[in-house]
Amino acid sequence: MHPFSYVAPKTIDEAVAVLEKNGTRARPFAGGTDLLVQARANKWDLDTVVDIKKIPETMSLEVSQEGLTIGSGVPCYQVYNNEQIKKEYPGIVDGALIIGGIQIQSRATIGGNLCNAAPSGDSICPLIVYNAVAHISGPSGSREVAVEDFCTGPGSTVLQNGELLVKIVVPKPNAGSGTAYQRFTPRNEMDIAVAGVAVSVQLNNNGDDFESVRIALAAVGPTPILANKAGSSLSGKPINDDSISEAASLAKEEASPISDMRGTIEQRKHLIEIITTRMIKEAVKRARG
């Protein structure tokens, strides 16, 4: 690591200008819990870090009729301590609550988690199953990208030179829906997902059939994976062990993990099946209130 400069622009335009000018030698800095660790490990060779937390738009946290807006500079603890978010977006809280420990959560952001694009990022799969959208600003204006399309590989995203994630917008879930996320780690905290699954279910009016389901898988591919086959297999199906176990085994097929120090291919696929089953049941439980 070598000395680098720190800038804290107050507007999106200023931030975009600095980022554009410095190219890969500048990075946005939210909580820094990935960025600083990676800079020390020589993943980045930086001249400038651009603190985004002085920009008002990145610091907003709002629950409205349209949905939930999470500014890209908002730390996890603010998200999971918000009573309305706890009630209406429990799947977001499931993710935010397990990113690191208390110290990490006081700085780490959901935006940073998404932009870091780790396949194991704990907030990404919940965002995907909630149909969340990333709002991006850059040299050629603003654009919106569905979170499921945001990550393009381990550590890489759709963000182009000079672009900045401003906020994430999560549409308001309908009545009769429920969402849950869980990961498996050998330790109870301060660990990285060996595999993780987020499930969001929309039940019919009676609450006994699935209307639509979204399932996303963490740490079992180069990016978080939207398991389309598994999710759509449940459309219109009754809620029972058969339908759930079929979806779980489809999810297992859709997972394409590697073997490494955190787990083997077999173990990860096995876990996807187990956690998918558990999360579908949990999401149903939440949907039924």
Partner: protein
């Protein structure tokens, strides 16, 4: 003749729980650790390290690094003094300085990943680190040996050129096997023929690291007269001095090592790593040089404890009496020999009385960091094998494994696997304390749906060591006593040593003020390790206290004589902090009162005590582990845990409990998740605390403790060592609990969720 002592029980200070003398400084952050050292003109050093685990170094080009602005000096192996090719004794293990020198700075070959090839000194840490990246090295990559099987294979690449192996006394050339030793007693083959039940299995394990919080560090200054001052977090200032003298080719008296406060060691901070490099960079630049390791380097280049294989076979007769045991122990030494196969052999059968035993052990060089001591080095690995086999034998024969352990327990006179016979030991007392513990007599409770519970027990043993220690005492005129010692305080030894002096002087523990000093300021003292410090340095403190009392009796005599000379030293007795006249019992003076008069009574009163103890009281422990396994994910949670141990005498029970809990926790981590996960091309893949997976407080229950006190006659207060025994039982206690829960025996550490799922599928 070894002096022996009768057990006592009427203590005033010993057994109480005073606030530790270093407590305030440590909790307020005032204590000076190695990385806190600052000196005028201080500069920083950084290492260029090999990315390869095994390669020939064809050339090293430091010119770019030297040209970097801010760089003040660069060294390579050419700057390392020529060292002798002989073994030297470092307290808890021997070392060959030539190999050590090559290991700390590669000359023609790199033999583990992270092996230093050059060092840079610069105005600040980051300039030094950036410049170190500019050192260009041409490597010719060689095949890597990550484990004993690969290193011992026929066509294996030889890791240390010219190393001559010792195979039961025969010299072997061209080998990675440094040593093969054997201990053989009784008639093992015949005993196995007579056995009614036999159990045999092979257990495998990976290297694991101590995981101390504070990384290695060193600050050194080499002056114009070739005197070297070193500040470092070390477990042994004097052994560091010896090692440095050998590496730097200086007389010991030219080197002064100041031990800093230490953030954990567990054995891993006995060897030197950065100290000689910082010293040579200082020699080159004329400036004090400081170096601090990164965590990755701590994992990759400092000593973990050996992985390897243990094969064990045990046999019992129809009555459940163990009659035979045989084992083969292969340990990975890392890139230099010295993997504690000796201690492993001493420990493997120690909890049992077995008439016929054989042990073959092999010390094997592999392309990994050289191992260092880690809490009872060598013992947990063999306890894992032996204690698993004992449970499996009992299962086979339908015996209760607790009763079996009691019926076969070692006792005074039992011959250990290496031939040594035990003196007074507490094996049976520990077992009966376990049997009557609250934990043993509580049931497991029922597991939630999808989970199963199990309970396991295991013995553990460490012999503990004695060696050399020195203590000086000075009486202050306010009645307090300054205690000068050379033992660095890792686990509360300031308190435990001061309390022994206080007991002997009859004063409160708080009135003894301990101070840990540099190698110029106290007599030679061996490492804080081997569970020896409270035992041996405490013994030295007791001696110094008795010498002080003797000196003070003379002063009392002087006082009461009032110049007449009618009182002699022998007319004065001392008890519980008060001096009495033998003839006139109403005549007395307290220690404190006397201290206030010393200025006019012969001046300062000082004393010294030093010991060289051949052996120590053996330590036995037993643990009970209750676990709960999720059958679907394979995750094991420890839900209740109790450690029982014979400590001889608990000087400060809180720190004894702390040691028992800490050892148990490290063993639990080793059992369940910790391991060096090696890449095929060499090097550790998980060299960070994120992926090394030590347990955190959220992964553990309260560790309950039961202290058993069977005093050893070898120490005035009966102290045995405490710190090492508790890491020995957890591996098998948890393995046995998993078997109890799931019905499967896991023979490969760590017993992580992936392996449990695999085992359940079979």
């Amino acid at each position: 003749m070894v002096e022996t002592f009768e057990p006592k029980s009427d203590y005033r200070v010993i057994g109480s729980r005073p606030v530790r003398h270093d407590g305030f400084d440590k909790v307020t952050g005032r204590a000076i650790y190695g990385a806190d050292v600052k000196l005028p003109g201080l500069i920083w050093g950084a290492l260029a390290r090999s990315p390869h685990a095994h390669a020939i170094v064809k050339s090293i080009d430091t010119s770019e690094a030297e040209k970097t602005p801010g760089v003040l000096g660069v060294i390579t192996s050419k700057d390392m003094p020529e060292t002798e090719d002989k073994m030297i004794d470092l307290g808890e293990g021997d070392e060959n300085p030539r190999w050590t020198s090559n290991r700390l700075m590669a000359s023609t070959k790199v033999i583990y990943r992270g092996h230093p090839v050059a060092a840079v000194a610069a105005a600040d840490r980051y300039v030094a680190e950036e410049a170190a990246k500019k050192v260009k090295v041409e490597y010719e990559i060689l095949p890597v040996h990550n484990d004993v099987d690969s290193a011992l294979a026929n066509q294996a690449e030889i890791i240390i050129d010219g190393m001559v192996g010792n195979d039961l006394g025969e010299e072997v050339k061209n080998t990675n096997m440094a040593t093969h030793e054997r201990y053989d007693f009784g008639d093992v083959n015949k005993a196995f023929k007579d056995a009614a039940y036999i159990e045999e299995n092979t257990y495998t394990m990976q290297m694991v690291h101590q995981g101390y919080i504070e990384p290695q560090n060193a600050t050194a200054f080499w002056d114009e007269e070739d005197r070297v001052k070193v500040w470092t977090s070390t477990q042994g200032a004097f052994t560091a001095r010896t090692a440095l003298a050998n590496l730097l080719q200086l007389d010991v008296s030219r080197i002064k090592v100041t031990p800093c406060e230490i953030g954990g060691g567990f054995g891993g901070k006995i060897p030197v790593y950065l100290e000689p490099i910082a010293a040579l960079l200082s020699k080159k630049t004329g400036r004090p040089v400081k170096m601090v390791m990164e965590r990755t380097a701590v994992f990759e280049t400092t000593g973990p404890t050996p992985g390897g294989k243990v094969w064990v076979k045990i046999g019992a007769d129809n009555n459940g009496k163990l009659i035979a045991a045989e084992s083969k122990i292969w340990f990975e030494a890392g890139c230099n020999p010295g993997s504690m196969i000796g201690p492993a052999a001493q420990c493997i059968y120690a909890p049992y009385d077995i008439p016929n035993t054989r042990i073959d052990s092999y010390d094997v060089v592999v392309n990994k960091p050289k191992v260092a001591p880690y809490r009872a080095p060598g013992s947990p690995q063999v306890a894992y094998a032996m204690e698993s086999a004992v449970d499996d034998l009992c299962d086979k024969a339908g015996w209760d494994s607790m009763e079996f352990r009691i019926n076969n327990a070692s006792t005074q006179g039992t011959r250990r696997g290496d031939g040594v016979r035990f003196s007074v030991i507490g094996t049976k007392d520990v077992l009966s304390a376990t049997k009557s513990s609250n934990h043993w007599n509580s049931d497991l409770g029922t597991a939630p749906e999808g989970k199963v519970r199990g309970r396991g027990i295991s013995n553990g043993y460490w012999f503990n060591i004695g060696l050399k220690s020195s203590v000086n005492l000075n009486v202050n005129n306010d009645g307090t006593v300054t205690l000068i010692e050379g033992s660095t305080d890792i686990g509360g030894s300031r308190a435990s040593i001061s309390m022994q002096a206080a007991e002997a002087l009859g004063i409160p523990a708080e009135d003894v003020r301990p101070s840990i000093v540099d190698t110029d300021s106290v007599g030679y003292t061996d490492v804080t390790g081997g569970s020896r410090t409270t035992y041996a340095t405490g013994f030295a403190a007791w001696k110094a206290a008795n010498n002080l009392v003797d000196e003070l009796k003379g002063r009392v005599a002087m006082l009461w004589s009032e110049g007449t000379g009618e009182f002699g030293k022998d007319d004065v007795t001392f008890e519980s902090g008060v001096f009495w006249s033998k003839a006139e019992p109403q005549k007395s003076i307290s220690f404190k009162e006397l201290a206030g008069k010393l200025d006019n009574l012969g001046g300062p009163a000082i004393s010294t005590g030093s010991v060289d103890l051949e052996s120590a009281g053996d330590g036995f422990g037993m643990h009970i582990a209750d676990i709960e396994v999720d059958r679907a994910t394979g995750k094991t949670d420890v839900i209740r845990y109790t450690a029982v141990q014979d400590v001889g005498k608990a000087i400060h029970p809180s720190y004894v409990e702390g040691q028992m809990q800490g050892g148990a926790v490290q063993g639990i981590g080793w059992a369940l998740n910790e391991e060096y996960y090696m890449q095929d091309e060499g090097g550790m893949a998980n060299s960070s605390f994120l992926d090394y997976r030590m347990p955190t407080s959220l992964d553990l229950p309260e560790i309950e403790t039961v202290i058993v006190e069977i005093p050893t006659p070898l120490h005035p207060y009966g102290v045995r060592g405490v710190g090492e025994v508790p890491i020995c039982p957890p591996l098998a206690a948890i393995g046995n609990a998993i078997k109890d829960a799931l019905g499967v025996r896991l023979t490969d550490l760590p017993m992580n969720p992936g392996k449990i799922i695999e085992a359940l599928k079979k």
